[in-house]
């Protein structure tokens, strides 16, 4: 779904905002939410959760004006990463799994590929980590202090 298409659908849905949404509208909002926000819409028993979703999408697009980036790796529904030897046992779900983490996990445990619904043909390479601040200072030959500028009074 393109950004323009998302905005068009959003505007259409918003025309019916002051009444109860039909089942078709609810499906549309759930799909729109997923496409724009990059995460699944979870309908709760809350009476206004679809209205809240429309507000959330509106604010997100107004602020960011971009669609969520599509993930290269997606785990199958029900699978979570929870391994004592991987990131100190931190639990990863599709909500917090990045492509870099997924690639790292599958490099260590290639037989777990069966638990992924989407895996790219070529593994996503880990983004180069920025140097830490103290390393920058240590590696810089001579860190010059900034010159104080004299006020000229002009």
């Amino acid at each position: 779904m393109s950004l323009d298409e998302a905005k068009r659908i959003l505007e259409d849905v918003r025309t019916r905002f002051n009444s109860a949404f039909s089942p078709a509208d609810k499906d549309t909002i759930a799909r729109l939410y997923e496409a724009v926000m990059g995460k699944r819409f979870r309908a709760t028993t809350c009476q206004r959760c679809y209205h809240d979703a429309v507000i959330e999408i509106t604010l997100y697009l107004r602020k960011n004006n971009i669609m969520a980036q599509e993930k290269a790796y997606i785990m199958k529904s029900g699978f979570v990463i929870s391994c004592p030897d991987f990131h100190n046992g931190k639990i990863f779900t599709n909500e917090n799994l990045t492509d870099e983490i997924a690639a790292e996990y599958l490099e260590l445990y290639p037989n777990r590929k069966q638990f992924f619904a989407r895996v790219p043909d070529k593994p996503v390479k880990k983004a180069q980590e920025p140097l830490k601040t103290d390393e920058v200072i240590k590696d810089t030959p001579k860190a010059k202090k900034p010159r104080k500028t004299k006020k000229t009074g002009k």
């Binding site: 028993t45 997606i74 199958k76 529904s77 699978f79 929870s82």
Partner: protein, 198 residues
Amino acid sequence: MPSTCESLIAQDISFACDKLSVRGMEADGLIMNRDDIDFASTVFDSNNPNIIKTLVMKATKKAYEIAQLGNTPFTGLVSNLNVGTYRNTWTHDIPIAVLGDDPDVVENIIDPLSNGTFVLILRSKTKGTAGNGEYKVYGYAQGCRASAGTNDKWSEDTEGGYLITLQEANAPKAGLFFYNTDKATTDAAYAALKVATP
């Protein structure tokens, strides 16, 4: 694979004061279309074949939530032993109240429940050790199918809605549990079942 299946008791029949069995079920659970489950990816606990560690759905599929009301949710949930000619089995009956009766409810819930085959994960009030007894799985072996259904428009219990009983007949095990590593991981896996992959 052994040519015979041994049935030998391996624990005292006693009770532990710190983890007594508690009657009843929590008010929510999950129901999955059996065809949507990726059975090939299921992982059982290597130490206990009655524990499913990993249960995943096929791509684009998800589990649906069941919410029940009242002080005794899933009231009537019962498992009975069937004495067979060569081997004994268990039949699990799971009553589900659907408090609604409109076109969407009938199309999306009642009609599929009437003829489909399902797997359910329900939350027991008996939590077991570190939570390993909380999530009970029904229908993994044989599938749960409707064995009874009522739509009593004057029912005070269902408020004119439906009461459907799902039954897993002749399951080889008295109980299957869903548990992975610890409570937090199991809770996360349970929650992840509710989210379909794109």
